[in-house]
Amino acid sequence: MTVTTTDQGEPSEDPQDDGRSIEAVAGHHESREQRHFKERLALWLLIGGDLVFLLMELFFWFYLRALNTNGMWRGSACSKANPCTDGLGNPITSEVAKANPAYTLIIAGLVVLAALVIWRAEVASRNQEKRGVISGTAALGLVFLLAAVVVQCLQFGKLPFTTIDGSYASTFIFFMGSTLGHLLLLSFLIFAVWNRARRGKYDGGHWYQVRVNRVFAVWIAISTCVLALVMVLFA
């Protein structure tokens, strides 16, 4: 391999490069657009991995539902005369009731609202609106997310089944857990966006981090809606 060489030259002109990465420390010629490309690519790769996880969840749901081993998807084969056995060995004598779809749909709606509000925060930061607008919309998005977490907890308390009541109950609760995990991760990120916006980190056109989080929020909203639709329509 033939190489020619250049001197390291001046450091990057981007003020955000200062102290942000070892490339910046080394005077690496990394433009803001290059840095954005890095973060964007990383995010899309992670979303790709999460998409595979989502597809695997759907595979779990539809495979178990189609197989309906021993009539135990929702216990359709269980009766007093022919009881099935739950995860603890106790008899199940009737079909397991479906979960109330209202909670699932409310959670999905709240997450969609959160994603839209976070999108608004991104627009505000791109338009270099007042710091309070960016942090305020991020805070509102966080409130929606936390509300979704609370509704999820309420839903868990109101379920007509527990984890041991067959594969429908198991998969339903697994989906809830998966949604909850994603919501908590997103809440952490949006909390950080709110806090950083409040401290002026996104002033002066430094909007890209907000955008990355918005893209992730939209993805979470999509995946939550897909899971919610499956839970409601294909019980």
């Binding site: 060489t5 290059q34 490309f37 999460d50 594969s167």
Partner: protein, 652 residues
């Protein structure tokens, strides 16, 4: 101006204040250990107290303890410092970054959360060697048990536990054996980058995987995992609490590998030097790219499988237990959707390293560069469509056996093309037979045996005969140990001078080579013999008709282990006492050989601009000098400076 005349900017000499680094200053592996033990202990106590009636080793208590350990360890070692500071809006300063990159830390940086990719690569290298040591010791225990038909060396339960942990330790070690050390240390330099795209994520991927190892080893004290490395349900659902620790290990490992995979791909696409077009990327970087992509999209299947497993065991869900509405087939599908791509996650990066070795020591351009890249990609794509060949005998979807047989057999075509490209690269080359090249030859021999026997197993009728017997064991050991691991050793011997700054002792290395080469043939031909006789896998006792084959295998196993011990001695001896290496002892062409040894903190004292491909052997250098082919009989006289001035030299 040449590189030597450029003003050197050695950041490692930069003075920084005594408070730079913040918490990092007080954190290291020991504080990680303390944090892990403390939080694990708290989790153990609290979960036991909250769960009235549960015993100290129940599934819930063990799971919470392991979660506590993993979080505590990573808190203690500093993994979460940067995300926490980012969340709080207190970004790390210039000096903090310098400290985190290892400046002023000396050798202690190898015990700390260090963002320098070379430190992370070296940390991975040591971790891989430790894991191979553990896995190899367990293998020797198995072979000792099997040297007689009814040995009392191990109880059946202990034997099964050792089989499982040997398998999973080796799978973890082989997945990271190249992507850990070489993709981290070498790949950024190869493409002209100053570090990985996300240095903190890079360090995080290492320390997260470190935190996964103690739970895996703890399984021996929690009743042992007696369900084999594939942990098929319902055996695994019924296994002792060790299975919870095992599952936790796998979940944490998936997180680490996913982070590392994303970092690798982003680095390759965004951090290349000027002129380093995709068509000029060294083949090893392509192999790393394909391996990383495969890991990102195969690992989620393993993640959901083990999350479901923990959930079945801890909260009584019914994914894998048929009596309650689940099915063992679900586990097998999820496991093998990950499990077969995993073979290529292991195999492709070492083969990329091997191709670098072959080209350098044959003094020839890579044969079929673009074809090899296409073949890597085809193997990766096909590997996602073959998983059910592991389930031919399970009764799952018999109608799909034919299509899965075809896709599996199809994969042998791109694999064969890669094999031909290796041969084409060394064909009629001016072979310089140094230690790394010995392992290239051994790879070719082993991999053809592993590959051809794999085609038998992809065939449904043959698989019905061989499934579950030692033939399968011999096949995948020829592929993974004889193929992937030998290729990785070739890469290690090749890049050892760049990583350590010292040369290996060729005489000791060649002694190790011959013992390993002979040991592999005796051990795994012995296992083929056992397989043809019909001996099943995973049995602690066997019928005396299998005695001779087992004795041969065990003797081969001891020989193989002796070879690896000699190799280990060669590596440690070379690392400590080897002759100092020059910057480019192999007269190679790729960028990692153009930087000084030891490599400076930011790799390149001046930014490189690439103007040709990495395999231009025999072509005149830009300064007009002819390239001198090395004399195979001449022992290199290493110097501390570059053997030849770094090529090019003009400043653009």
């Amino acid at each position: 101006m040449t590189i030597a005349e450029a003003p050197p900017i050695l950041l490692e000499n930069t003075p920084i204040s005594n408070v730079a680094g913040g918490l990092y200053r007080r954190q290291n592996a020991l504080t990680g250990l303390i944090g892990g033990i403390v939080l694990g202990f708290i989790g153990w106590i609290v979960s036991h107290q909250l769960l009235q009636g549960s015993n100290w080793g129940s599934d819930m208590v063990v799971t919470v303890t392991m979660v506590g350990w993993v979080i505590g360890f990573n808190l203690g070692v500093g993994t979460f410092n940067a995300p926490a500071r980012w969340m709080l809006g207190h970004d790390q300063s210039y000096e903090d970054e310098l400290y985190a990159a290892g400046v002023t830390q000396g050798k202690t940086r190898y015990w700390k959360f260090c963002t320098d990719h070379k430190v992370v690569g070296t940390q991975y290298l040591v971790l891989v060697m430790v894991l191979f040591g553990i896995g190899g010791t367990l293998a020797m225990m198995m072979r000792t048990q099997l040297i007689t038909a009814h040995s009392s060396f191990l109880s059946p339960n202990s034997y099964n536990a050792i089989v499982s942990i040997h398998g999973m330790v080796m799978i973890i070690a082989t997945i990271i054996m190249v992507t850990g050390p070489f993709t981290n240390f070498i790949m950024p330099i190869m493409i002209g980058a100053k570090d990985m795209a996300f240095p903190r994520l890079n360090a995080m991927s290492f320390w997260v995987v470190v935190s996964a190892i103690p739970p895996l080893l703890a399984t021996f004290f929690l009743g042992g995992v007696d369900a084999g490395w594939t942990t098929y349900a319902p055996l695994s659902v019924q296994a002792p609490a060790a299975m919870d620790a095992f599952s936790m290990t796998m979940i944490v490992f998936v997180i680490s590998v996913t982070i590392a995979g994303v970092n690798t791909i982003v680095t390759l696409f965004t951090m290349r030097a000027k002129g380093m077009t995709l068509g000029r990327l060294p083949i090893f970087t392509w192999a790393s790219l394909v391996g990383a992509a495969l890991s990102i999209y195969a690992m989620p299947a393993l993640l959901i499988a083990f999350t479901g497993m923990i959930s079945d065991r801890v909260v009584g869900t019914s994914f894998f237990v048929a009596a309650q509405g689940g099915t063992g087939w679900l586990w097998e599908n999820a496991f093998w959707i990950f499990g077969h791509p995993e073979v290529y996650i292991i195999l492709i990066p070492p083969v990329g390293a091997l191709l670098e070795v072959a080209s350098t020591f044959a003094r020839k351009a890579l044969f079929g560069y673009k074809v090899t890249i296409a073949a890597f990609t085809a193997v990766a794509a096909l590997s996602l469509m073959v998983w059910a060949h592991h389930m031919f005998t399970t009764g799952w979807a018999p109608d799909l056996a034919g299509p899965f047989m075809v896709t599996t057999e199809l994969i042998s075509i791109p694999t064969g093309i890669i094999f031909l490209c290796i041969i084409g690269t060394i064909w009629k080359g001016s072979i310089w037979t140094r230690l790394p090249m010995f392992f290239v030859y051994l790879f070719l021999w082993n991999f053809i045996i592993g590959g051809v026997t794999g085609i038998y197993l992809s065939d449904v009728p043959a698989d019905n005969f061989f499934h579950g017997d030692m033939f399968v064991t011999a096949h995948f050991h020829y592929t993974l140990l004889g193929g992937a691991m030998i290729a990785a050793i070739a890469g290690l011997c090749y890049w050892f001078p760049k990583i350590t700054g010292r040369m290996l002792n060729e005489r000791i290395g060649k002694t190790a080579f011959w013992i390993i080469a002979i040991g592999i043939q005796i051990t795994y031909f012995g296992q083929f013999w056992e397989g043809f006789q019909g001996m099943p896998r995973r049995v602690a006792y066997y019928d005396p008709i299998f005695l001779h084959a087992n004795q041969v295998t065990s003797i081969g196993g001891y020989l193989l282990m002796s070879g690896f011990l000699v190799l280990l001695y060669c590596l440690l001896n070379g690392w400590r006492h080897g002759k100092p290496a020059s910057a480019n002892p192999w007269h190679a062409k790729s960028l990692e050989w153009k930087v000084p040894t030891p490599v400076p903190l930011v790799n390149f004292l001046v930014d490189p601009v690439v103007t040709s491909d990495p395999y231009g052997f025999g072509e005149p250098e830009p300064d007009g000098t002819e390239v001198e082919l090395p004399d195979p009989d001449r022992e290199l006289v290493p110097t501390l400076s570059s053997d030849r001035p770094v090529t090019g030299g003009e400043v653009l």
